[in-house]
Structures are given as C-alpha cells and as structure tokens.
C-alpha cells in the first residue's frame, strides 16, 4: 500500500506558491498531456510570458487578475509516496479559502520571497498552521534569482523566519533556497547555489511523516444520527479516537446514560465486525433502548469527555462582521450543534508581532482568546488532549465565520457536579410545610448569596447584616468561605474542580438552611456563573444573588488578607481578578457598590431588601399564594 500525504502550499501573495507547484509538476513529468501547451496558449492570448500558476488557477477570474482566489488540489507522486498538493491563496481577502485548504493538510510548505522576506501573510499563515494543528512545516525561500543567489540574503531571511516560527511553537524541518521559475533546487540541485547542501524541495516533501492516529487514546464516538430503516435501531458516527468493541459499556455525554454495545452493523460483509477503530464510520446497536441524540459523545466510563457550559478558546475569525462580546452564534463541534454566546473577549492577538491586547471584539482575519458560554451543558475535550473533539466552528447567519481550539484553563469539568453517584434513593416528604416554619418565624427563609472579588467587602457585610437581622428578630446565619473550608470542605483544594465542588456544597447547605426557614448569608467569591446558577437551582425560589461590587484597584488597595500581594508575586496561583477570571452576575437581585459607600450604608440597603422581600408582608403574600392554590 502506497502512503498518501496532503501538503498545503502557503505564503504571502506573489511570493510564488503556484509557480512552485507548476515547476514541481513539470520537473517530475507529472503534467497531463497537452497541459503545458494549453497554458502556453492561455499566456500568449494575454500577451504575457509563460505562467506556471495557470496550472492551478483554473478560474478565468484568477488568470485574468493574476491571483489565486480559491484553494485547489492536485495529485502528484514521488518515488516514495503519493501527494495531494493543496495550493492556498496568499491574498488576505481570500484567507477563508487558505484555511479551507490548509485544514485539509498534514504538512505545509511556507513560501517566502527572498527579496521581500517575511510579509504580513507569511506570518499570518504561519500562525494559522499552528492553530490548525499542523506541526510539520518546511520553508521555501523563493526567487533567489532576484537576490543574485546570495547566501547572505538567504541567511537573513532564514534567521527572521526561524525566530518567528519558533516563537509560535513550529520548528521548520528544512529551509530551502530555490528559484521556482527556473527549477533551481526543486527536483535538481542548483549549480548557482553551491553553498547550499540541504535537501531539494521534493526531498523535503519525502522527509515529512504520515501521521498515524494513536490507538491508546480513550474512545470518542460522536453520534451522527440514529437510523431505524428496519427493526434495528442503529447509532451511526465516526470513531474520532480509540477503539470500540462489542460488549463494551459506553457512556453517552452529556446525558450520562449507559448501555452496552450489542453489535457493530455493516452491509455487504461476510462477517459482522466485533471491533472498530479510529477513523472508521460505523453503526452500532445497544443492549438497551436509550434516548440518544445526534451530538452526544460515546466514550468508556473511565475516560469520558469534559462536561461544561463554559470554555476558553483560541479562535481565528473569518466573519464579515467582527466577533463581539455578547454576540450569539451557532456552535458546531463534530455533529453537535447549539447556540453559544461570547461571554468575554480576553484578548486579540496580533499575528504580526504576537502581542496580545485587551479588546472587546475580534476583527475579520484576526486571532484571539475568547470565553464562550452555552445555554446547556455540552461534552467536549481540550484540543491538546483530543484535537478532533477539542475544536469547533462558529456559524454566523448562513456561513461558517470562524474556528477555534478549546482550552479549559481556569474552568472546571462539571461532570462530577451533575452526576448523582448513588442509586436507589427515594425522597422523603416533610410533614411540616416550609410555609409553617416561615409563619412561626414571621419571615421567609432565603439564601442571600454574596458574590464579588476578594476585598470587595463580602465577609464584613455578611457579619454585619447577620448581627442586624438578629437584632430585628430574624433567624440568620453566615456561611463563610474560610470557615467552611475548615470543616465540611476540608478535603477540597483550589483546583478548578475543587473550587466548583466547594461552591456546590455551600449551595446545597444554604438551600437546606433556607427551607428550614432560616436566612443563610453566604460570603464566597464564587467567580463562575455556572456555579452560582447551580446554587440558584438548588435553592430555587429562595435564592437572592447580591453582587458586592468594587473595582479591582480598590480591592487590591484594601487587601485585608494580604492575598493580592501574594498573587502579584506569583506565590498564589490562579487568583481571581489577577490570574483567574471573575464572571460578574448579569441579572443579580441586588447590586451593592462598596467603592464609595460606608459599611453602614451598604448594610442598610441590604436590610431594606430583606425586609421588603423576606419580611412579614412577604410571608402574608406567600400564604395567600400557597393556600389560595391549595
């Protein structure tokens, strides 16, 4: 079996990509019969010298304007293997077509004009190769004839280029000086550059490896569809990683339902297969009739994908309108589709000098770091662990407008938080209504959930509000972060998962307090919306989110526990506001800005809110509501 490798040719406009390919075909006798003559006629008709690019530029508009508009694939073979050569346009306007071509390849040639050196699209294309996950790159320094085959000039271009590529994590396998127009160093060694001893272009191609998918990866089988053409219920999809066997127990994320593989179905085979591997498009039946939807990911139970409704991504944007905070798009991750909202744009990255800058939007053709939020929990992987389930595209209107690769840095896998481990649980109904307890207390139970940066005043206010409520005859109790971590949550650390679990437990405890008629006041930074939303669901009808607001600079100046200082020196890692995100509430019940107010002013505002919403009148209203309905 002959190997096949897909190679993309990228680089700045007019640096000679199409010419390189034309020459490669000619010098290896790969041109179809009559093609050379046909190109000659086309050039003569336009009164121009012979143009190799016309081999790839099949569109009339491309030949007339002398630019490659869209990507093109042609087949080519060396002695070693077969190649699909993908020519990508170098014009900025056609970046979407460059991405289309490059994403289909396994290795790349970056073409750079020896005279002009690295230009805008040379860098942008290099960066996109890195984002697209293409790690095998060779650099072709073209048009050496223009610089009189100077070794000195070549070394200058080489140094610039290597420095840039190294800084984005790409090590060029070869850097080859060529003159594509005349065939120097393409297939034959050039007599004009005796100082160069390295491989020719065709040898550099043969030096690339054909990537082989690893078998030891955990199984990822995204569901593409469910077919019922006959009495079989067949779940179809492509195995994106790992191996699947008849008899395996599968877990489907994010529904977290489990079943065993009963059979692997196939048409026109002598024997039904008993196992299937990465890359195969297959169909399976299960031993149980689960409700399974397109987009769910089947895996083994011991290494499932991440479940989350928030994630970080590095994206490239191709949309006509910029990507902005608050905008909604359609997310497509394998066969999974859902709405997604841009929670925040963390930074825009310049592909020219690699500097990141704070920004609220990512313009067309640019790259950036973005936090996305989905309306429900979805299953995904981090790109570094599993590229096929760790990347996605965004659709704006009718067109794919961007792509991204996922990182969960600073965000928790929410799988354990939503999974009920025990079975055979029956809920016991209380003999006393919540309303009865509340009528005796003469106030409603509730959770006053304080959220805000460290140093915003949560604990100070919580303790003072508790004291004042006590004086008014209210049953109130403060749940404070540091206290809870000494007892109930003593086994938790500060990883994203442990932080999420910390908040989950506090949310559940606060909910129990509120149902027992007490007002629980919680004082936790609780920086993630997902966590606070889960706490709200645990105490549904009792939950009051109170945003204790203060600018980061003020909090850092106050620094009551000396934590900001430690975070700035790096002694504390992932500190909210400094090195970890704080997601401000979108629609809190109450906002208390402590920047310019005294403690007493803030406490009074909270007390007013409690009396109005949880006081005696609220109890009477609830009674009418509940008993009127009964």
């Amino acid at each position: 079996m002959r190997e096949k490798l897909n190679i993309v040719i990228v680089g700045h406009v007019d640096h000679g990509k199409s010419t390189l390919v034309g020459r490669l075909f000619h010098d290896t006798n790969s041109l179809p019969e009559g093609k050379f003559e046909a190109i000659k006629v086309m050039c003569e008709k336009r009164g121009m010298p012979f143009e190799w690019a016309f081999l790839m530029d099949a569109l009339q508009a491309e030949r007339d304007q002398g630019i490659t508009i869209d990507t093109c694939q042609i087949w080519f073979h060396s002695k070693k293997r077969d190649y699909v050569i993908i020519d990508a346009p170098g014009h900025k306007e056609f970046l979407k077509n460059m991405v289309t071509g490059a994403a289909a390849s396994e290795a790349a040639l970056l073409v750079i004009d020896a005279d002009e050196g690295m230009q805008e699209q040379s860098r942008r294309h290099g960066y996109l190769l890195h984002l697209l996950g293409i790690r095998q790159v060779a650099v072709v320094v073209n048009k050496m004839d223009k610089v009189k085959f100077s070794e000195k000039r070549f070394n200058k271009v080489k140094t610039d280029c290597v420095a840039y590529l190294e800084s984005i994590g790409i090590t060029a396998s070869e850097i080859i000086p060529v003159s594509a127009r005349d065939g120097d160093n393409i297939v034959k060694r050039s007599a004009k550059m005796r100082w160069y001893q390295g491989p020719m272009v065709v040898e550099a191609l043969d030096g690339f490896q054909v990537p082989v998918p690893a078998a030891d990866q955990p199984l990822r089988f995204p569901v593409q569809d469910v077919y019922k053409f006959d009495d079989r219920r067949i779940i179809v999809g492509r195995i994106e990683a790992g191996t699947l066997k008849v008899g395996d127990e599968l877990i489907f994320s994010p529904s977290n339902k489990k079943a065993r593989v009963k059979s692997i179905e196939a048409w026109s085979v002598s024997e039904q297969p008993s196992e299937a591997h990465v890359g195969q498009s297959i169909g399976i039946t299960l031993d149980e009739q689960l409700f399974i939807e397109r987009g769910h990911i089947a895996s083994n139970g011991d290494a499932p994908p991440i479940e989350t409704d928030v994630f970080r991504a590095r994206i490239f944007w191709l949309g006509k309108k910029p990507l902005k905070e608050g905008n909604e798009y359609k997310l497509k991750l394998g066969p999974m589709e859902c709405r997604v909202r841009v929670q925040s744009v963390e930074s825009e990255i310049s592909t020219q000098d690699l500097k990141s800058s704070k920004s609220e939007a990512i313009e067309r053709h640019n790259v950036g770091e973005v936090i996305f939020r989905t309306p429900k929990i979805i299953a995904l992987d981090e790109f570094v662990n599993n590229p096929r389930t760790g990347r996605f595209v965004l659709v704006d209107g009718y067109e794919i407008a961007g792509g991204g690769i996922i990182s969960m840095e600073g965000y928790a896998d929410q799988r354990d938080l939503i999974t009920q481990q025990s079975t055979n649980i029956t809920k016991v109904k209380h003999g006393i209504r919540a309303l009865d307890r509340e009528m005796r207390n003469n106030h409603l139970g509730g959770v006053l959930w304080f959220t805000g940066l460290s140093g915003a005043g949560k604990s100070t206010l919580a303790v003072e509000v508790e004291r004042q409520l006590y004086k008014k005859g209210y049953q109130a109790y403060v749940l404070d972060g540091d206290n809870i971590r000494q007892g109930l949550n003593a086994n938790l650390g500060f990883s994203p998962e442990d932080r999420a679990e910390n908040i989950r437990r506090v949310g559940e405890v606060a909910a129990l307090f509120s149902r027992s008629g007490v007002i629980a006041i919680t004082a936790f930074i609780s920086p993630y919306r997902s966590d606070r939303e889960r706490a709200r669901r645990a105490a549904i009808g009792y939950f009051h989110e109170i945003f204790i607001k203060a600018d980061l600079e003020i909090c850092e100046k106050r620094d009551p526990k000396g934590l900001y200082k430690k975070a700035r020196t790096g002694e504390i890692k992932e500190f909210t506001g400094i090195s970890a995100p704080y997601e401000a509430p979108e629609t809190p019940e109450l906002v208390i800005d402590t920047t310019d107010s005294t403690v007493q002013e803030c406490v009074n505002k909270i007390l007013d809110y409690v009396v109005e919403n949880l006081g005696a009148r609220a109890v009477r209203e609830k009674r009418v509501r509940v008993e009127g309905a009964e």
């Binding site: 079996m1 086309m42 869209d70």
Partner: protein, 272 residues
C-alpha cells in the same frame, strides 16, 4: 504508540469512511435530498457507498437527467440495476438544443441541455440537496469545489466567493430558495474509483473496456463523447494503464475542449 498494522485503515477504507460520513451529514441536513445517477463508474461507486452508509437502503431517490442521447448500453444498465438495487428512480427530460444559449460552442451547447433539464427537475421536485459524483482530479474548476457547495436561486455556482469549509464541518445553513450540491467523491481519484470498483465488485457499463483498441474513459452523450486509445480489457488493466498514462480523463468529452473557459461557464450555470 502506533496502532498495529491490523488496525491501520487502507487508503480505500479511509476514502470510503470519509464519503460515508459526508453522505450521512447530507441525509441529516436536507429534507429533500436526491442522488444524481449518471450511470457512470463514479456514480455507481456512490450508490454503493450509500448502501454501506444506510445499511442496504437508499433513503432518497436516485435522479437520472436523461438527454435522450446516451449510449444504448447505458440505458440497459439503468433498467437492470435500478430494479436489482431497488432504487427509487426519478427521471427528467431535457429541452431541445435550440433553446440553449447560442453563445456556447456546439458541444457545450448540447451539454447545457443537461443543466436545463436538471434545473427543471429541481424545481419540479423541490430538491434542497443534490448529491453529485464529481471529483477534484477530473478538471480544474472541480478541483476548487467544496464538499457542500451552495447554489443560488438560479442554480448558479459563485466560484469566486465560496464559503469556508474545514474540519469536516460542512455548511448546512442556507438562505431559502437555494439548493446545495453535495460531493462525497471529491477527494477520490480516477484510479481510486477503479481500485474500489474492483475490490467491491461493483458492476460497470462495458463501454469502459477496450474494444478494437479503444475504450471510453468518461461517459456522456453519444454524439459528443469519444473513446481513447487503449487495450485495457479488464479493471486491473485499466488501473495499470492509469499508472502511466498522461492523457487527461475527460479528453474524450468534447465540451471541455472548445475554449479556455467554456467548461467553467457551463459549471457556473449549474452543470455538474
């Protein structure tokens, strides 16, 4: 760790798996889907892949746009296998050549009948997705195609502003009134098609095999298609021939060679 050689998919298995993935995406994405069956070697492979993708069934109709000028062997093949493979057939006729754009050269003008017939049929049946068996290695403009390729209300292909398509994420959102061409064989070569036909024992029209030192490499209307010189009488001989030949596959299709941009114009108007 690399997977054992037993599990390494062969190149034909990889091509097959990708095509099946595309066909299943198409079936999911389009309410009114049809498969263009030209009776040639490529579209027979496509039917075979559909039966694999859908476990012996083809859950959408097969469409034959009949110019009325095909070879007799082609009609015989259609009648035999549409029954044997249990295909749901839809056929459409083509208007006379006099109604076609007179600025086209003769063969292209004749080929344009098929585009017109197809347009009428799309309108009549309300297709939103049409599966076609074109390949990138056949011809220059086809090499620039997308797997899911949108066509405007008039069926036109806007080749200079195609949507991006990567990571097997195909565009499935389109403005109302558009239809989409789906190309599950775009990544196959002529040689791949024959190797797969051999491996899977897929029936083909005998015109592809040499008779009197000539054979057809590509089949179209009888009056504008000519055979090429060849002694290949079996599929293995065809494969061997393809390994050395430098004659283009569509060299016998007259409408490709009447002028520099004629085929591109045909395709822009909606030809496959």
């Amino acid at each position: 760790m690399n997977i054992g050689i037993d599990h390494q998919m062969s190149d034909l298995d990889q091509l097959e798996s990708k095509s099946i993935y595309i066909l299943r995406e198409a079936f999911h994405s389009f309410e009114k889907l049809g498969l263009l069956w030209s009776l040639g070697k490529d579209s027979n492979v496509m039917i075979w892949l559909c039966r694999k993708a859908f476990f012996g069934y083809i859950p959408f109709p097969c469409v034959h746009v009949d110019t009325g000028k095909k070879f007799k062997e082609m009609y015989d093949f259609r009648d035999k296998y549409s029954k044997e493979w249990n295909l749901k057939m839809i056929t459409g006729n083509c208007p006379p050549v006099e109604e076609m754009d007179a600025s086209f050269p003769p063969a292209a003008r004749s080929a344009a009948r098929k585009t017109a017939g197809l347009k009428a049929l799309v309108e009549r049946e309300g297709f939103t997705g049409l599966i076609a068996g074109i390949r990138r290695d056949e011809e220059g403009t086809r090499s620039k195609e997308r797997v899911f390729s949108p066509r405007g209300k008039t069926g036109r292909w806007n080749s200079s502003d195609q949507p991006p398509e990567f990571w097997d994420q195909f565009n499935s959102d389109f403005p109302p009134g558009c239809h989409v061409r789906i190309h599950p064989l775009l990544h196959w070569t002529e040689k791949d098609i024959w190797r797969y036909t051999l491996r899977e024992k897929i029936p083909v029209i005998p015109l592809y095999f040499s008779k009197g030192g000539k054979r057809y490499r590509s089949l179209g209307d009888e009056d504008i298609t000519s055979p090429v010189k060849s002694n290949a009488k079996t599929i293995p001989e065809i494969i061997k021939e393809l390994e050395t030949t430098r004659v283009a596959e569509r060299s016998g299709r007259a409408m490709d060679h009447e002028g520099e941009d004629v085929f591109e114009r045909l395709r822009a108007e909606g030809y496959m």
